[in-house]
């Protein structure tokens, strides 16, 4: 491949986009740090943490890892298996709740 073709490759992008994303990542990290700084609690804390986390992860995957420019075949092959993880998380959260419930009931509280 000659030089001109190389330049047009999907993998080369204007430097501006990288700098933008870089800045956004710093900003989002700062925000999630602020969540702790202001000691938000409960639902608000969790929503903010998760939003910032997924935004950061999404930006890194989409732009730094070039997933935004990849064809859907690759994107789908990579993202669909995550459903197994999501299922695992949901079930293990339920399991953990159950464990702590029986522990408290039979070891400490009784009744």
């Amino acid at each position: 491949m000659d030089e001109t073709q190389k330049k047009e490759q999907a993998t080369t992008h204007k430097i501006g986009i990288y700098l933008w994303i870089w800045g956004l990542l710093f900003l989002l990290s700062f925000f999630s740090y602020m969540v702790d700084w202001f000691a938000f609690q409960g639902f608000l804390r969790w929503t903010l943490i998760l939003i910032f986390m997924f935004l950061k992860a999404g930006l890194i995957m989409a732009f730094f890892m070039h997933l935004y420019w990849e064809r859907y075949a690759l994107v789908n092959v990579l993202l669909w298996p995550m459903t197994a993880i999501v299922g695992f998380i949901i079930l293990m959260a339920a399991e953990a709740k159950y464990t702590v419930f029986t522990r408290l009931l039979y070891f400490f509280i009784g009744g």
Binding site: S29, Y33, D36, I60, M61, M65, R71, A73, A96, T99
Partner: protein
Amino acid sequence: MSDNSLNNLPKGFKGMSHDMGSDQTAFKGVQWGKVMMWIFLLSDTFVFSCFLISYMKGRTSTVVDWPNTSEVFSLHVGGMPVPLLLIAIMTFVLITSSGTMALAVKYGYEKNRKMCGWLILATAIGGLTFVGMQVFEWSKLIHEGVRPWENPFGAKQFGSFFFMITGFHGTHVSIGVIFLFIYARKVFRGDFDEGKRGFFTTMKSDYVAIEILGLYWHFVDLVWVFIFAFFYLW
């Protein structure tokens, strides 16, 4: 593979069914090495997910109090405890290195050997700084009496999960740093311009390797995003 031909293919889900229905390759224009790294990272995602899921299960089901992370991980600056200060700096360093890596990939594809090499070196230094701060953090905790098998601040599992998960992540970072140095040398030596053959694999070098390395490095950063949210902020 030139970009022209890729642009002529259908896009989106239509493109997906086209690619999957076609012969030879399912991921059009994606090099073997890059697919390998992606699938490996997918597998590694499952490793870290299992770690974090175990952590969630362990933390939720313990009846002993979990230590308050923003206190445990605070640093004293001028006598005032600043919560999660070190973690914030570590995050900053890792994101910085991720950015330099992204630029290194870009310059690599532009065959800008010097820029690419220096940026990879910068990334490696960032990674090294991160590992160094992690060592500091570990020794601070160990000094305070936290061990994998015990924890003076509350639930035993805190120490176990902390050392295991950050240790596993730190190992990934360290391996990444080693490879960054190796590739920086290769870039400066011009292996990728000449297509020199690898020492072990006897395969030709190509700048794609920089992108593959970049994928790995961004993945390490990605994992840190999750560890930061779930371990330090929870």
